[in-house]
Symmetry: C2
Subunit: 321 residues, 2 copies
Amino acid sequence: MHTFKELVEDFGAYFGKKHFPASPATLYEPGEYFLSWGGKRIRPVMCLMGNEMFAPIVADAYHMATAIELFHNFTLIHDDIMDEAPLRRGMETVHTKYGPNTALLTGDVMMIQAYESLAKISAQYLPRILTLFNKTAKEVCEGQQLDIDFEKMEDVSLDAYIEMITLKTSVLLAASLETGAVLGGASEGNCRHIYEFGKNLGIAFQVQDDYLDAFGDPEKFGKETGGDIRQNKKTFLLLQALQQADAAQKQELQQLMRENPADKVPRVLAIFRACGTDAWANELKEKYLNTALKHLDDIAVMAVRKKPLEELAAFLIQRDY
Amino acid sequence: MHTFKELVEDFGAYFGKKHFPASPATLYEPGEYFLSWGGKRIRPVMCLMGNEMFAPIVADAYHMATAIELFHNFTLIHDDIMDEAPLRRGMETVHTKYGPNTALLTGDVMMIQAYESLAKISAQYLPRILTLFNKTAKEVCEGQQLDIDFEKMEDVSLDAYIEMITLKTSVLLAASLETGAVLGGASEGNCRHIYEFGKNLGIAFQVQDDYLDAFGDPEKFGKETGGDIRQNKKTFLLLQALQQADAAQKQELQQLMRENPADKVPRVLAIFRACGTDAWANELKEKYLNTALKHLDDIAVMAVRKKPLEELAAFLIQRDY
């Protein structure tokens, strides 16, 4: 068994190579540029962890983990085009550096490269893995489309928002774990529980992310807070505040969103607090985290095999802000 | 055995259904819109023909053919974004009707849908099919990138142009036939020949397409001619004319391309003719067609089984203009 940190290091070394042919460089260099930024590689590591919960890590799990990381990076490249984001993690996005057409094709070919890695998986597992991967990939696209749709809508229900977040981010975390588990020989029941663990952990993480963007300590959070509020981004907090606010609060909130005054962030935060949105978000996060941990608990393996995923949950979901 | 036309009708009926879930409609309706236009469905029919050359058509061949047609349509949707094409076959392109972000995602999810169809193929064939499909898909992206690159370059060699055309269009025709042949139980040698038949036929078709756009009879060609010349598109004809022209002709050609006068098309055509580009293109087309037919000849099945592919070649490559 390996710790989460050991696997991050292990996969980082494995993945830190060229992924594309040299030519045509106009197509493949932008892909290498984007992949070279490194990162935590959380999804592929979750795949390795899903495998190792049930058996020593097999070569197929590295092919699977590679496919997942390439697919994730494809979504980032295309999302950045759609969001017209000039920077990601302080680096020029692919479409900024190379133009939108090349970024579009770079994303396309990175998705195909993900399937090329999948094609290396043993024939006995390939049909099941391919089916789960395709289902997940479609869901991620659905989530991205719902995100675009919601930004244009006046009213989005909390349930619809949770569905969007689940599709856009959580199902890939869930499938990372489940594909690893499949390759580790896990039973159907265990596969279902590890998938649900990942899915609920992902939702808890997203609630936390929204919370920290509003209420987090910038030093601990690692980036400036209030960005979502400044951009009028629909978040768990805003949707809940709009539901809980009285008429006067709602009117003030909508006016702040329309007029963007200099003191917008502290004034929106004051309304969030007055509506109890901060405590509510913490409860919601705990609810999803607990559901995740319940599914982890229900996996039929010895407790010691669950330690790395417990570590992962503790790493992703902080309990002191 | 079925004729090409019978299979076009057969596949048209099979493919003419909904391909996506109903929801979210904002993502899936644009895909259905694009697929509903119909068309010859040449690539998937080639897949069925590749199968039927060796054995009665199996269910897997329909899954394969569907994957190929979905993949082809994905490339069209993304190419239209890159080309900023407002119309295709007289219909509004997806990005014109639904916006570029939705067109981007619609293309992405259509590619995934192609892989979903592939995932239905019997496990015994899946690894080989997936590997060939991935290789081809990457090559199509490479061809598109080279096409973009070439439009910005002053000098493109004929060899480089043929390589671009091969990647952008011919390899998918070739892979359509070969995947069908694989599913029909063809030997390695026969698979290689049917692939080369498709590849060379595709190049011959593209030479003809460039020729007809310049010299074709608009009534027989079915669309206005001279479009490539008006747009200064690098075609087989232009590249060859630039190589064969004397200094005065080359200067005039470059001036016409720069200044776009009203009589540009007839004057460029006159230079093409003076350089012998029309006869040269016909010879080049014949060369690739003959190479294709030689590979068809070399396939080790009874002559009667080759009839449909001979018909296809005759349908695609006309000998009277």
